[in-house]
Subunit: 324 residues, 2 copies
């Protein structure tokens, strides 16, 4: 495979949130070996629910890499059934978070591992290995970080905003409880010592990528590395999730341009290249000129596995071109 | 219904363990109204597993009274599926206790209620009401009691003996951790103030009935009441569970006689009447004469719902005959 030689000496760090980023992550995992690619995953969406530690972004990536993700639903696990949650509802239990019967096993096993003293990183490694995933899925930190959505209906824990309230409240901002005291996962720290390039997957900039980049010293560690981000906004819409709705509510135009501007404003000089969808080809030159960030346009709407692999190749090629 | 007039003024306490006792319990629930019958249930089999508080005997009775018990398996819930436990096993989790997907909902809801401060009795009431069970299912105590099986393979927590080791170890005795400090459930205490008769269901005398009768002051409270027990041993065999195997290992003949002897030895004068299966008709007169406990023989093998109702009628009629 051409890309294998291109990236033979690569040590790529891919920063990702949930479902959207996980699509590119799967593509990257088909192109790079497990010693060439490490995933750093948002844990700000994690929450404790029904006595379980739930890590939605880690789980979305895990199911995607195991090719066990539920393609009909767009979230959760393949071949899922709902006997647990329907029975819980009938007993008067809390059923707004739709836990599938198979999915319950993952949360239960993680919680058991954490309760027996494992770090979130070790628990994740145990689970991904059991699912025959070769690549390392590294939670951004082993310290609990909890994203809070500030909204016209008050402060909401992320899953309460995202699932229970179905993103209806209008957001006014975000905070990340525990982030100031959180330490970057040592697995990621070690990888950074030999890292040759960074990919920011097409995930929500506010609630998926920011929690990672705001981690103590993390963004600073990336400044000497080539960093390419892929826009999660295509033609003014979010492919998945509430990113476009959030931008509108924050009085930011929902555009690929605005996402680049967000990264450049908060992490000046961090991003060395940017990828937008071919729908937004006109924005590419505006970004290249206006923000002085080299930007290319390509197909970034990943429907098939081949789409995922193609975008992975394009991203890695671009990253190579940006490497001094 | 004839029995309704017979027992119109009854306040019956039925002492029961799991599946075996629950059969008669269902029969009794068809004959007596919810203000005429209260179930006092063993909690010595309870255990904490995968972060859940599991109460096997309460659950067996709950599913039986809701007519949701799994008749194919002989345990657990009707219409059950196994996606959770099979997925947990694939993740390397602890899967020897076969938790069904629907069953998980009950354990999760109970654990949530307990963690939010409810007593086991209140949590049970909430769950049984949600399942439209009219009668009160009263855990023997709200204090944790844990049955320990002493065996040739050392001391085993009850579910480890019963499920994980499938009753293979040879028992040498039993102890009940926490029993000395446990207080009888106040719901049962209140019922005893107006109680007119007690039925000891055909449950295992060692691990289902003894934990109840050994509760502080409980057996003493019953001495002035008519008490009828039904033998769980029929023709030298246990209808359900390891009672006969345990008796053999404890060097006690596995017989209806030996069960009566056990009760009479440990709780002298408690039992006023005893019911054996018609298979053991010859034992009935031996028990009446030898132990001076009036004993009748009837069909106690409950296959159909009508069998359960019939035994309930027979038991209540016998109890009435024994009432001064």
């Amino acid at each position: 495979m051409a890309a294998t030689s291109i990236t033979a000496m690569s040590k790529i760090l891919a920063i990702t949130g949930g479902v959207g980023g996980a699509k590119l992550a799967l593509g990257l995992s088909k192109v790079l070996a497990s010693d060439e690619l490490l995933f750093a995953v948002n844990t700000g969406d994690d929450f404790d629910h029904l006595g379980l530690h739930i890590s939605p972004d880690i789980d979305s990536l895990t199911y995607a890499l195991a090719e066990e993700n539920n393609q009909e639903l767009g979230w959760g696990r393949q071949g899922e059934t709902w006997q647990f949650i329907e029975s819980l509802e009938a007993l008067g239990g809390e059923s707004w978070f739709r836990l599938g019967d198979k999915d319950m096993a993952l949360h239960t096993q993680r919680t058991q591992l954490l309760n027996s003293g494992a770090s979130l990183s070790d628990a994740t490694a145990s689970i991904t290995q059991a699912l025959n995933i070769a690549h390392t899925v590294a939670p951004m930190t082993n310290t609990p970080v909890r994203t809070i959505v500030h909204s016209d209906q008050g402060d909401l824990a992320f899953q309460h905003y995202f699932v229970r309230e179905q993103c209806q409240p209008a957001v006014t901002g975000f905070s990340f409880n525990g982030l100031a005291d959180a330490r970057l996962n040592p697995v990621i720290e070690n990888w950074l010592e030999r890292c040759t390039g960074v990919i920011i997957c097409p995930s929500n900039p506010y609630v998926s990528v920011d929690p990672l980049l705001k981690l103590n010293g993390f963004a600073e560690r990336l400044t000497d590395l080539p960093v390419v981000a892929i826009s999660p906004i295509v033609g003014g819409l979010a492919i998945k999730g509430p990113a476009a709705k959030m931008m509108a509510e924050l009085d930011v135009p929902a555009s690929a341009y605005a996402v680049a501007q967000h990264y450049e404003h908060h992490y000046p000089g961090l991003m060395n290249g940017y990828i937008v969808d071919k729908t937004d080809e006109k924005e590419a030159s505006r970004i290249t000129d206006g923000l002085r960030i080299p930007t290319i346009a390509t197909n970034s709407i990943m429907v098939t596995l081949q789409d995922r692999v193609d975008l992975a190749h394009t991203t890695l090629g671009f990253l190579r071109d940006l490497t001094p």
